[in-house]
Symmetry: C2
Subunit: 445 residues, 2 copies
């Protein structure tokens, strides 16, 4: 039995490891087109702000670790160019030796990930970056160390854009941040959350402007000098484009594997593609959403790991159902934590109730307490929880995960208000903010 895995980051290496662990005698080959495997790309914005720490510390296990400790044949700088589903072969380009060869498979796992969406540019300009692969991270960090830019221009208004802005601010750059569509930052969040993030941007002196279209980048001596926009020109030595990612589906699509409506590779609940011998996992494929009961495109490192494990197991004959996502995400932004789970307003088809509460993170009179704001969506009539959003300086992570657990089994706000949550003054008020929110919601259902 030979399992070939295309892609060696989160999903791919999880798939390879799981297949090999479950079937010692299987030959497991990973084709990775870059020189890096198994790194935590979510850590890049945080790594960036500590200039002395190499990006390589985000590598969890090296290719040699996988070879020697796990018996996996990891092949770096090998790009899968074509899949011949008839012959069950992958055409590989070895970019170091510049040669092409074919490799047969019994089962194939596609874990090609996603890539940063870029702006159309006439040519590559030093100082304009996207941040997706470890290579991107290394290049960006090197640029900052060498050129010591003072003025940064950030394009994007999502979670990762904000993480990067935070890092650049820590590195003492003055920052302009723009988004194309008019309106507030973090548009997928409710205004009660976004306004707190915008206030923090103002507090930090970061100039956020929406409704700005990028016209082009101007260089001087090969280095970025200005960003030209619909709202004028902005001087900048560094610009990072963080406007989302798109799944790497080309090799699958060319092979006639079905692409879903979201634009990512379609998989069933067992992570099998339209070809029974080919699985897909991670950011290149669709993700079943438990609440929407349909696939979404929801790239995430933790989801990629979970899916990889299941795809790898199923590739060698297991029959594990991928449980799906409920839309959970979180990020840290200066001293704030921002998180959501479940549906955002635009996704809600049901007649719903929106509940907003402001509470405290710790017990009455306990030092260090700070405000926490919670938005709950629940279905009118039944009280079924639909989603939550939160912002605060601490204890946001735990509370969003409680709601994520509740969403897994269709809890109502009544259930949420009934939870036996841990109470002690250092961790929560005697009425936990979540219970306050649930009790408030109950009155409007």
């Amino acid at each position: 039995m030979r399992v070939v895995v295309i892609g060696g980051v989160a999903a791919g290496m999880s798939a390879a490891s799981q297949a090999k662990r479950r079937m010692k005698e299987a030959e497991v080959i990973v084709l990775e087109k870059t020189g890096d495997v198994s790194y935590g790309s979510c850590g890049m914005p945080y790594n960036l702000m500590r200039l002395d720490n190499p990006m390589d510390e985000l590598v969890v296990l090296t290719a040699d670790d996988f070879r020697n400790k796990r018996g996996i044949d990891v092949r770096l700088f090998q790009e899968a160019r074509r899949i011949d589903r008839e012959k069950k072969e992958v055409e590989v380009w070895d970019s170091r030796e510049n040669r092409i060869y074919n490799i047969g498979y019994d089962k194939l796992v596609i874990a090609t990930g996603a890539r940063a969406i870029n702006l159309p540019m006439e040519k590559q300009i030093n100082g304009v970056f996207t941040l997706r692969t470890l290579e991107d991270g290394k290049r960006l960090k090197n640029f900052i160390k060498e050129r010591k830019p003072k003025k940064a221009f950030l394009i994007g208004a999502g979670r990762i854009a904000l993480e990067i802005v935070h890092a650049l601010h820590e590195l003492e750059m003055s920052i302009v941040m723009v988004k194309k569509r008019p309106g507030r930052i973090l548009p997928q969040f409710e205004e009660e959350i976004s306004e707190k993030v915008e206030a923090k941007l103002r507090e930090k002196g970061i100039n956020f402007i929406s409704g700005v279209e990028i016209k082009g980048f101007m260089e001087k001596d090969g280095f970025l000098k200005k960003v030209v926009t619909s709202e004028g020109e902005f001087e900048a030595e560094l610009s990072v484009i963080s406007i989302g990612v798109q799944p790497n589906i080309e090799v699958a699509e060319k092979a006639g594997i079905k692409i879903g409506e979201t634009g990512a590779i379609e998989v069933d609940r067992y992570l099998r593609t339209s070809d029974r011998d080919i699985f897909a996992c991670g950011d290149c494929c669709e993700h079943y959403h438990r609440l929407l009961k349909k696939p979404v495109f929801s790239p995430s490192g933790t989801v990629a790991n979970k899916q990889g494990r299941i795809a790898g197991a199923n590739a060698i004959g297991a029959n594990i159902i991928y449980p799906g996502v409920v839309g959970t995400s979180i990020f840290s932004f200066f001293d704030l934590t921002v998180a959501r789970t479940g549906l955002v307003k635009e996704e809600i088809k049901e007649d719903f109730v929106k509940t907003v509460i402001l509470s405290q993170t710790r017990g009455h009179a306990y030092p260090g307490s700070s405000p926490i704001k919670i938005v709950l969506f629940s279905e009118r009539g039944t009280g079924r929880l639909l989603g939550a959003q939160m912002i605060g300086k601490e204890y946001v992570w735990g509370r969003i995960n409680v709601v994520a657990a509740c969403l897994y089994k269709d809890f109502t706000v009544d259930d949420l208000s009934s939870l036996d949550m841990a109470y002690s003054p250092p961790f929560s008020p005697v009425w936990d903010p979540l219970l306050i929110a649930a009790n408030r919601a109950k009155k409007s259902i």
Copy 2:
């Protein structure tokens, strides 16, 4: 309609507030035998370590607040002595005016709480304390401020004993801590957890000895000098007895209200006692345990608040079922957080699997990460979650609450491993420790 509430702390004031809120025209009278209402007694050990902060800051609302803002007739220093269920009257002793009077009720709510278990003592000695009421806290704090004790002797080995030890250590006392039964600290926790707490005691130079019986207290000039034990005499200027609490059931018992097997007042799921017109809530009554499916005695401030609200509502005609506890508790001890939820080993009747994992609190290479240890109990065969225990320096609170939510609806370890938990490097590794524990447990089910 007149609702009389006996006891004005967490459960009592919640019941009174809820009854009044739901029925504006109801006359709601609270009889509190001390001079304090509505305080957060769980905050006392934490308040203790900040000598300049008055204990009174733990009072959430004063009697006047309840009178003026909520229209509740709060009567301080009024002790309910007797209940005449035939006449529906309470006999009250006004301790300030030293007079006895009767007060009629339509519905009665008993919220008499629990009291600290004390050791038999021939006479009261200055320097020997229990810590249960706000009055206890004030007396203890005053004693520490005035006498500046250097040597403390702590009797007890539970959560509150440890919180007090922490406070006394912060106040620079040298501390001996003893428990009667031989064996480890926190015996209701697994050894993997207790050993970490014992290591912290050693690190802080706190002398913990088990198997020590108290023979008596020796005084000099009316102040504590020595504690005499089965293991010898210990010099001490301060001794705190923290060996648990017992429910205040006397007034209910004398009135012929049924006392449960746990020794606390028996209530049905609506918090009604054996008398249809009398409700009970908080630490004086039993608490339905959702996993054991029977009542337990589980005193807790947050549970008291929840029960009070339900008892108050049901007293004026609502029909709300008390959802019950799952055995969640948490406390902070120096830089550690210790928590549990669900069943402890002794409570498990099922054939069970115990899983222990050691992981990290934050993402790979993210600064500030620290170890977190998780113990999971699950039912062999079905994988149904039975309980969890955790210890670590951060993010314990959130994780124990996720399991508490899972226990509410009988999640299995497979469900737990499937949760879409929030991931970002500042908050968790890409595989959350809970998911690691659940995946590990799945292998042994």
